[in-house]
Subunit: 496 residues, 2 copies
């Protein structure tokens, strides 16, 4: 029986293979005795090895944490991106500026190589200031005969057509699609106001978003089907302010395209309450339109793997943002965290086993062309991608990771929970991904992971003017980066 004393080498082989090494000529009882002994020693030693590995991992992750919490450049990078580049919608001059900044910042983080990956991107422009003037009939000398006007705070939805001058029409309020259907015969020429509330009873706000966002996505075309001339959508947010929240709408190409705006919550409540007692007309003025597609780029940094150079781990966020804000949480945070993971691994002299790609994706907001290009090229080159992770839920305090992949892979991630929990990401849940990495799953069946920060404040800023640098907390941003770095380290070390 080799190796009862000390650590037998065959214990290092994969499980299932080492038992065959036990001598087959041994009498049964002795065999059983030795088997038991061997098994118990093996179990003990495997446990000891696992504990030692856990301890090594815990030490390395602690070093990552110290590195990020004391020397991170993420916050300063975010300041430059938000304050010197600002909003950076696909196709805009700011996009070009952001890409140039991104490549420089990526190179500064220390990859083995960095490059731009070209892709065509849509080029939607807002075309001026979006306006909505509400006119309501009010009483004068006892009669409902005087028009009172008030500007409501709106932002045209992304991809929306413009009003081509001013569009004046009566408003019809519906609380949901069922009410739209009930009122379908009275919508011709009207402006439909979808006043669907962001559900406060979902604890995780992304659930409220998933629930409400259909009104932004499908609302305009569903109203156009019944002849509506325009659409106003209640903003998808819990915020206590009046900032409208924009975001893409998706027209059904078989129906007329009608202009659509998002309305701030206070104004939405005002409009709702006003319409209970009187008729309200809206005059919408928006100028959204598409220019020809133009050239955009993913910014990519790579650390070459020492053992499995042809197996890739991708982590990323998206470089583009909506135009009215600085895109600080969405997704400046993911962008600078991605580069911080690279910088921190480099600073500790970490040599990855797998190749790791750090990607700032183009055009997530209104086309996902960057994510699609990345996956298409990976497929064309026959690349093997073992995991793709995205950070696109804001730079808030970390809570966990979401995972989509095989059960065995998920169980492997769950086993790392105790290593990650001290840094905030103790919640490893089923279901994860991101717009930019989902094409990888589609093209290459790549397992997907999303970094999950706390969701409570995300939709206070999402696609709104106040998504600015000042609303990102330095430490929360850094903690996100270090948790992602820790997970990437574990995936790289142990595979998935």
């Amino acid at each position: 029986m080799p190796g009862i004393r000390g650590l037998p080498r065959f214990w290092l082989l994969k499980s299932g293979t080492w038992l065959s090494l036990v001598c087959a000529n041994t009498p049964k009882t002795v065999y059983i005795y030795h088997m038991k002994k061997l098994l118990s020693v093996a179990a003990f030693s495997l446990a000891a090895l696992a504990a030692a590995a856990q301890s090594d991992d815990s030490i390395f992750i602690r070093r990552l944490a110290d590195e990020v919490l004391t020397h991170s450049t993420a916050y300063e990078n975010l300041r430059v991106l938000t304050k010197q580049v600002g909003g950076r919608l696909a196709g805009s001059p700011a996009m070009v500026k952001a890409e140039a900044w991104g490549l420089k910042a990526m190179q500064a983080a220390g990859p083995d190589k960095a490059w731009l990956q070209e892709c065509m991107v849509p080029h939607w422009v807002r075309g001026g200031r979006d306006l909505l003037l509400a006119e309501r009939l009010v009483s004068s000398t006892g009669k409902l005969n005087k028009w009172s006007t008030r500007y409501l705070d709106v932002l045209a939805l992304g991809n929306s057509v413009g009003t081509n001058g001013a569009l004046r029409a009566p408003i019809v309020e519906v609380r949901n699609f069922a009410e739209l259907e009930a009122k379908k015969d009275s919508l011709k020429g009207k402006i439909v106001f979808y006043n669907y509330k962001f559900n406060p009873t979902f604890v995780k706000t992304f659930q409220s978003y998933g629930d409400a966002v259909v009104y932004r996505g499908q609302g305009p075309s569903r109203a156009a089907r019944y002849g509506a001339a325009g659409v106003i959508v209640r903003s998808m947010s819990h915020s206590t302010d009046n900032n409208p929240h924009t975001g893409s709408t998706n027209y059904n190409d078989s129906l007329p395209k009608i202009p659509a705006v998002a309305l701030g919550l206070r104004d939405a409540d005002w409009l709702d309450s006003t319409m209970r007692t009187t008729v309200v007309y809206a005059t919408m003025t928006t100028g959204g339109h598409f220019l020809p597609d133009t050239i955009g780029h993913n910014v990519i940094g790579e650390l070459r793997g020492s053992q499995f150079p042809n197996q890739y781990i991708t982590i990323g966020g998206h470089l583009d943002s909506w135009d009215p804000a600085e895109g600080a949480h969405d997704d400046g945070a993911g962008v600078v965290q991605t580069m911080e993971v690279l910088r921190a691994l480099r600073a500790l002299g970490y040599k990855p086993r797998h190749s790791i790609r750090f990607v700032l994706f183009a055009n997530e907001e209104n086309g996902t062309r960057g994510g699609r290009k990345y996956a298409e090229e990976a497929k064309a080159k026959g690349e093997q991608h073992i995991l793709a992770l995205e950070s696109d839920e804001g730079g808030f305090t970390p809570r966990g990771f979401g995972f989509t992949g095989l059960e065995a892979q998920y169980q492997k991630m769950l086993a790392w929970k105790d290593l990650l929990a001290p840094y905030g990401t103790g919640e490893i849940i089923r279901g994860g991904g991101g717009s930019d990495i989902s094409p990888l799953a589609k093209e290459l069946n790549t397992p997907l992971c999303s970094f999950i920060p706390d969701s409570q404040r995300y939709f206070d800023y999402h696609h709104a003017r106040n998504d600015i640098f000042e609303n990102v907390n330095k430490r929360e941003l850094e903690l996100g980066a270090l948790n992602i770095a820790a997970l990437i380290y574990l995936v790289d070390k142990y595979g998935l």
Copy 2:
């Protein structure tokens, strides 16, 4: 063997008592057979009962959540407290206003009774604006002979004596107490600048606070021991702004009391960097002093227990705050959450088994007289307190509860983890309490619990001018209240 079919009544008795009901005359094998059968059915049925109980609890907690997330008055209460009362240090006119508001707000939340509990409180006043003028020698025509001045942003530490006019002296910088000791012979008549950094590598910021706060607490007296004339303390914060953070200092009565101020972080870094190249004098002007003790009050609401009226559960926060801010996170949040728990339980028609007290404590910040009074009176009346919980770590997104008590009690709390985790408080850790409730542990050996919200941003605002209403998020505040309500419900239902 009664009750094999159906649910035998004795399974409802406490564990350990029902086995004695098995007939003692049964032959051993039959006995064992029946025992096994009984045990397995019992185990199954107990599991089913437990599952049913979990399900009932989960439904009730969901109702609590819906109630709080849709009808909470916590945020509006906080607005009124912060904007109409404002900073409310013990002894101040604002304290009196806060108590009157607190009693009214408590009554509105629907207790069986509400009252004020009188206690004497210290009455420290700031006595004017705190100033610190730094003068440094700079070069002029090639010689270090010109004084340049700059005001640094400071706040006198709470309980600090004043400078009695202006105090001008050279500054001596020390990074820690070891350096203070090393420089002890050169401190006479000087102003000591403790530049101890808030450690960024602790993930939980309360650890950094515990590590650094000794400089605020003991720093002045330790410097006075060596003849220093005044003290400047680097603020205990990770913030990126320059707001100084005040807080109590504790003089050693056997040493001279010297004035002490907290310095904003940017100014602290400027001072540190300036002192590397030149000598710096400070002119401190502060006016802190004590007026005679005055009358303050704890505000108490009570729900009377239906089964155990003489067993109390206390939950609370503190009504007082430092003077320069609105005390929104510290501890307006705890105050309004306490009353929200009461309101929500009432709104659902919940009849508690134990008596529950909702307490807005007086004078946490510079004396803890309210907490001491509460415990003294509880002891004098022979009250039995089964748990006291405090919310005094800000109105941030919930993460867990900390507990100090017996291991069996802790295990009982741990068993509720799955019920609480969906709402944010999945981390049930050892070690919990609060300044206001710790006298209960001392006097009555009461188990203590602290509500633990995410700690990353707390010390950005703690004791600083920016601890204002606008920096509290409505949903995070409400989630805190509902998690506390859920835990209190479980403790009330199952005991501890």
